[in-house]
């Protein structure tokens, strides 16, 4: 029953990806926690956190692919939603510190004491509760995306113009969060976290659990994306991507469809940011850097836009490359990234997975045409049938 329901909403590739993600959510923590350090299969804690970080990037990439790959909305500001989710989680982690801060104030985080603030600003209330913070992780990016999208899609801002204003959005937030009087720790951001849900944030077990949570959320995102894309709504989105005005003449309110998927995507990005912050131990305004959002676009392009799974591969591969290059040849990383983007755009327009995918669809399409190329008998006697063009 459940498997049947599952496979009406997810294709084989998505199913495999979800199974793999669930498997690593189990196996990586087991290897880290149970195997002796001398075992060749032991994964050290630093690597668990590193891969965990990549998987949060992968989640951001899946979110971006949902709007860019399937609906043609090229967001150059998805890092903003990621960072907002991160800040919501960071605020919870700050409140968890309690009196253990440098200034030992039971309520106020250190930076507020340092700024001589006497009480907690109103928007910091509630963040001592994990579930409230978790709600804000999706609500804040979701509400911002909803408001932004409502204005932009209703006035039919599309293409390059939309991309530019998404970039402006993240840049504006970057500037705002830099300011001390915004109340988010200014330049330094939020850091020195102690624990999460009562567990020491540095402990190996906590790190492993954060890793597992990330892999499971990524699996969930693959499922949600597949569910959306395989529904009729997904077909409408692809129709909007390919011929937006045609969709309007069929009676679809294109702006509402865009708004729906845009908001869902921003919420996913927020969750990614929230999982990122406890694993890297800090959130600061640099997460709003426009360059971060552009990098995310490159991950999706490399992995293959419009493929759901491709962006995961792209995000992990590019970031492994980044970790390696920035250590080995720090000065050429940016050139390597730029070259990669150019190569992918020119030679692999559908990315790594698209290369494989287009080969598969070509085979399937050829098979379908072979099967169908005989004219249907019913129509044959009185109707002229246009010949198939490509009867190769």
């Amino acid at each position: 029953m459940i498997t049947q329901w599952f496979f009406t909403h997810v294709d084989r590739r998505g199913g495999i990806a979800i199974a793999l993600l669930v498997a690593i959510a189990l196996l990586v923590p087991l290897s880290n926690l149970l195997l002796p350090q001398t075992s060749p299969l032991h994964i050290p804690t630093y690597l668990v956190s590193l891969i965990g970080k990549y998987l949060t990037y992968a989640l951001l990439a899946v979110a971006l692919d949902l709007v860019w790959g399937f609906c043609g909305i090229l967001s150059l500001g998805h890092g903003a939603f990621f960072a907002l989710g991160g800040y919501a989680m960071g605020m919870y982690l700050m409140r968890q510190i309690g009196p253990r801060g440098v200034y030992a104030d039971p309520v106020l985080p250190d930076f507020m004491v340092f700024l001589n603030w006497k009480e907690l600003p109103w928007f910091w209330h509630g963040f001592d509760n994990f579930w409230f913070a978790a709600l804000m992780v999706v609500l804040v990016p979701g509400a911002l995306a909803f408001g932004f999208g409502w204005l932009a899609f209703r006035s039919r801002v599309t293409g390059v113009y939309l991309s530019i204003i998404t970039q402006a959005l993240t840049y504006a937030l970057l500037l705002a969060f830099f300011r001390n009087d915004m109340g988010f720790g200014g330049n330094n951001g939020l850091t020195d976290f102690k624990d999460i849900l009562g567990f020491n944030i540095q402990a190996g077990t906590t790190r492993s659990m954060l890793f597992a949570a990330t892999a499971l959320f990524l699996a969930l995102a693959v499922f949600v994306s597949s569910f959306i894309i395989r529904s009729k709504l997904g077909k409408v989105l692809v129709g909007v991507r390919d011929a937006e005005s045609r969709m309007r003449f069929l009676g679809y309110r294109v702006d509402r469809y865009k708004l729906f998927v845009w908001t869902i995507s921003a919420m996913m990005a927020g969750i990614a940011g929230a999982l990122y912050v406890p694993q890297v131990g800090i959130i600061n305004p640099s997460e709003f850097e426009p360059a971060n959002s552009i990098e995310a676009v490159i991950w999706v392009a490399v992995g293959g836009r419009g493929t759901i799974i491709g962006p995961i591969i792209g995000a992990v591969l590019v970031n492994f490359g980044k970790t390696y290059f920035t250590a080995a040849f720090p000065e050429i990383w940016l050139f390597a990234l730029g070259a990669l983007f150019i190569i992918v755009t020119l030679f692999l327009p559908k990315g790594i997975l698209g290369l494989y995918g287009s080969w598969r669809t070509k085979l399937a399409d050829r098979a379908a045409r072979k099967k169908d190329s005989a004219p249907p008998p019913v129509a044959a006697e009185n109707v002229h049938l246009p010949e198939p063009q490509a009867a190769e």
Partner: protein
Amino acid sequence: MKAQDTLLYLDGVSVSFDGFRAINNLSLVLQTGEMRAIIGPNGAGKTTMMDIITGKTKPDAGDVYFNGEVDLTRHDEAEIALLGIGRKFQKPTVFESHTVEDNLVLALSGPRSAFSALFHRQSANEAERIEDILYTIRLNGKRDWLAANLSHGQKQWLEIGMLLAQDPKLLLVDEPVAGMTDAETAETAKLLREIAKTRSVLVVEHDMHFVRELDVKVTCLHEGSVLAEGSLDFVSNDQRVIEVYLGR
């Protein structure tokens, strides 16, 4: 003429693009159940007229009424489509990365909200209607083909099929036989006459053989307004029509 008992009523419609009058004081009336052919030289404003009717372009002046009472200038494209006006574009526009069948699924009349689309399940009735349309447009053997792989003529037909799936009261068909072979053209005329038995149709076409086969009242547009109107023989004997259009 009163707007009340007409299906489509255009009166004194004008629109300019950067000072150029593409539609100039145009008046045109279509009765319920009528099929009308629109002819006229390139740039006469035929496509622009359809843009106005479907809400893509707002007129600078004039009245546009549907069903005698709905002011089309106050509605946008999606609302007008839902009122029951379907359109086939001059350049065939189908969803190329969808299959033939999915193109029809998207066009099929029914709820259009995002929520209903997310949880939509195809009913037996919908499947049957799609089957019927696939048969009517002679693409039943190609339902799983990507629309991108269809020939030009097949795309034209798929778009007509999408129009049928929308189940509109009024069909606006812009140059349906452009790029078709003679045999395909004849088939398309047959198909449109069949469709016109139950719906109203406005069809723009340059192909005079095709217009003759439709055998309906003809309106000739020129420089954004009506030059002549009547039977094809009447219109094609009009001295001015010969001058600006047929004689060239």
